[in-house]
């Protein structure tokens, strides 16, 4: 009996640091923020108010809805574009060409740049007068665009900027997925007369669907947490056109010290993401193919 218990004891002992960290820095704060979301708390006085923070968010705070609108719009465009871009690059980098490793390194490099630094670089690129984007548009006679100063354009600038990360971790995951597809399938398809597009559409994509699904879930979660670039480049402006949800949450928590409201926002975000993930899992049955299950 002692002998069988011993490995479990050592196992738990070894994961104790992680367990303590999880309880103290993840589960503990989550439970605490759930409680705080039911209070009116400004870091000084605390009062239990039940669901009042949630009611006020829903019915009395237009900026809450604005931040949600901005974030959902961003997610709707940035996530599919990002996934398509990463997949395209992964497919290209999976080709057996000379200098393949150099290309892989070059495409991965931008994702190593810290978000603050890349935000600063992009704010230069978006400069209306001297930015590289407007200079390029000028070559085709297109007038300069106020990328970060026109409230109708700003959000799309962030979508464009999100493509900066297409060569990062997501592309690596796609690349690994592509390399995991046995060559025999494509070869059989080619023998049956399928061209490259048909092979990609009917062989590669279905076999890659678990990876696409994984990236989709992570992409949606990531797009709801956009903060740094908006904080650095526009601080939510102009006129709240780039007020992302996480930025508005941060403002409430750390600028206005409305900790109860910010906690409620965090839980709303959690529920939204949980709901979206569950919907995706449900929908995944129709388009995600697991070899083990087929």
């Amino acid at each position: 009996m002692v002998a069988t218990k011993k490995p479990a004891f050592w196992g738990f002992l070894f994961i104790t640091p992680w367990l303590i960290g999880f309880l103290l820095f993840t589960l503990g704060p989550m439970i605490s923020s759930l409680y705080l979301s039911l209070t009116k708390y400004d870091l000084h006085s605390k009062r239990f108010v039940g669901m009042e923070n949630y009611r006020r968010l829903a019915f009395e705070d237009p900026l809450f809805w604005q931040s949600l609108r901005v974030t959902v719009t961003y997610a709707l465009f940035a996530v599919p574009l990002g996934i398509a871009g990463s997949l395209l690059i992964a497919v290209l980098l999976n080709q057996q060409v000379r200098g393949q490793r150099v290309f892989r390194t070059l495409f991965y490099l931008p994702s190593l740049v810290p978000t603050v630094a890349s935000a600063l670089v992009w704010s230069w690129m978006f400069n209306k007068d001297s930015g590289i984007l407007n200079s390029a548009l000028g070559l085709f006679g297109i007038p300069p665009v106020g990328w970060l100063f026109d409230q109708k354009v700003t959000l799309w600038s962030f979508v464009l900027m999100s493509l900066w990360g297409v060569g990062g971790g997501r592309m690596v995951i796609f690349l690994a997925g592509l390399q995991g597809i046995p060559e025999g399938y494509a070869e059989a398809a080619r023998l049956d007369g399928a061209g490259p597009w048909k092979t990609f559409r009917h062989i590669t994509l279905p076999l890659l669907s678990p990876v696409i699904f994984f990236n989709l879930i992570l992409g949606i979660i990531g797009s709801f947490q956009v903060f740094t670039q908006a904080y650095v480049m526009t601080n939510g402006g102009p006129n709240n056109a780039s007020l992302f949800y996480a930025l508005y949450l941060f403002r409430n928590a750390f600028e206005y010290f409305k900790i109860g409201k910010a906690s409620a926002m965090a839980w709303v975000l959690f529920v939204i993401l949980l709901g979206l993930t569950l919907v995706q899992f449900k929908g995944a049955k129709k388009w995600v193919y697991y070899e083990a299950g087929s």
Binding site: Y41, L43, H44, K128, F149, N239, E255, F257
Partner: protein, 459 residues
């Protein structure tokens, strides 16, 4: 489904990574040895930590932020204080500016705050309302050396809430006009300081100067701008000059929709979009037109920026003058930082001695008289020869004095951050386009601010 070959590879690699080892129990002696050594080292460490060279002194912590020069000066001040007060030891806690507010508030809320803290006035009303600061009134009343008349009344006003004193001002100063004398000469314009002395330095004159100093290249692109239209809160200066305001005197309502406020905002909007003598937000992005680059003729800024210009500007002459006046006078904005004592400090008397030291004549002479940083809070230092007469720019130091003498503290409440967010949105809506409906935007924002101020704080 993985192929059997893949499985085999995984298994092999797994065995390579985690080879079979001897049972864990056989390793115990070495674990014991390692534990014993660790405990021994810890014991040595603890013994070393236990020695407190300031055990016989009252220990205080002072927390502040700033650029390296500022922090070095404050460190020097702490050391001076420690030398002069052998019964107290002040340790200086430096926090990066970007994290300062969050750290400070969390330390206050978690009751781990430093004994003396430097607080930016933007945050002062918000934090004083949360009862984090020691009421210094009785300390000041019992101190025979403290006389409020030694200080500029604006300093006292800023640190006093409902008749009680919760801080003492440091790094005080006001907004004035920094101007590029070389650009002025090139445009054949009279020195604005001279105009201000004659009472002729008005907002109309300022606009005329800005237009004349602006230069465009052959391709129509701006090379130099005459000025930069100021944003909140500096734009309060023209708003006041035109008779408008941000708030009603009781701080209960906004006055953004006031016709005079609208006039002032329209005036500022015209500078980039109608007169083309100030960069619009897109042109000003990425610091394209800064005063120190020599591409800006006139700039509104705090007195504390002088050392930076002194250090950076090498290619042109510059100086300062008071802000222009308008139909309702020419009042500038003044603001400082406050040294506050944490409400739950165990050593309020000693903390008060430190605060008094940091605002003493000697310290102010050193900080402001010798190094010409910001502005002294003490009249005696501000009117001293050492402060007023200098052989380096800016030469019109009397402009500093007159700006503070006639300055007005920032009209802010504990809800400044929320209000500023609403005002900033409105200003973006106005400043980013050539033809906004300014009255409609300002009136709409006024309603939003009034609604916000009418609600209980903290929701």
């Amino acid at each position: 489904m993985q192929s059997s070959a893949t499985h085999l590879r995984w298994e092999l690699s797994a065995h390579r990574s985690f080879p079979r080892r001897t049972p864990f129990s056989s390793k115990i002696p070495s674990v014991r040895r390692a534990t014993a050594v660790s405990l021994l080292l810890l014991a040595f460490g603890l013994t070393g930590c236990g020695k407190d060279e300031f055990a016989d002194k009252t220990k205080l912590r002072y927390m502040a932020w700033g650029n390296p020069e500022q922090l070095a000066l404050e460190q020097e001040m702490c050391e001076d204080f420690n030398r002069q007060n052998p019964d107290i030891h002040v340790s200086f806690v430096r926090v990066p500016a970007s994290a300062y507010k969050n750290k400070m508030v969390v330390m206050f809320a978690s009751r781990t705050s430093a004994d003396v803290v430097r607080v930016d006035h933007y945050n002062f009303p918000q934090l004083v309302k949360k009862d984090y600061f020691y009421d210094m009134t009785s300390l000041a009343e019992k101190d025979p050396t403290f006389k409020s008349s030694d200080f500029f009344p604006q300093c006292i006003e800023e640190e006093t809430v409902n008749g009680r004193m919760y801080g003492m001002n440091v790094l005080f100063g006001g907004i004035l006009v920094y101007y590029n004398k070389t650009m002025l000469k090139d445009a054949g314009l009279e020195d604005p300081y001279e105009l201000s002395q004659k009472g002729q330095w008005t907002w109309d004159r300022y606009r005329e100067y800005a237009i004349k100093m602006t230069k465009f290249g052959p391709n129509g692109k701006p090379l130099k701008f005459g000025t930069q239209s100021p944003g909140m809160p500096v734009n309060l200066i023209p708003i006041w000059a035109f008779g408008g305001d941000l708030m009603t005197p009781d701080f209960k309502h906004s006055r953004l929709g006031d016709p005079n406020t609208i006039r002032a905002i329209q005036f500022l909007h015209d500078l980039p979009w109608k007169d083309h003598c100030s960069p619009n937000p897109a042109e000003a992005a990425n610091g394209a037109f800064t005063f120190e680059s020599g591409k800006l003729g006139m700039s509104f800024d705090f007195m504390g920026v002088s050392p930076t210009y002194r250090k950076k500007v090498k290619d042109f002459e510059w100086d300062v003058c008071p802000v222009p006046s308008g139909p309702h006078g020419g009042v500038s904005l003044v603001k400082g930082n406050q040294l506050v004592i944490y409400r739950e400090t165990e050593h309020p008397q000693e903390a008060w001695r430190f605060v008094r030291f940091m605002t003493s004549v000697g310290t102010e002479q050193k900080l402001y008289g010798r190094l010409l940083r910001c502005f002294p809070t003490r009249r005696a230092v501000a009117y001293s020869k050492e402060y007023l007469h200098t052989d380096q720019a800016p030469h019109h130091m009397d402009s500093f004095v007159s700006t503070v003498e006639h300055g007005r503290p920032l009209p802010i409440t504990s809800r400044w951050d929320e209000q500023l967010t609403l005002v900033t949105s409105a200003m973006e809506e106005i400043n980013h386009v050539p033809d906004p409906d300014i009255p409609a935007i300002l009136k709409r924002t006024q309603s939003k601010i009034d609604k916000m101020l009418g609600e209980e704080e903290g929701w």
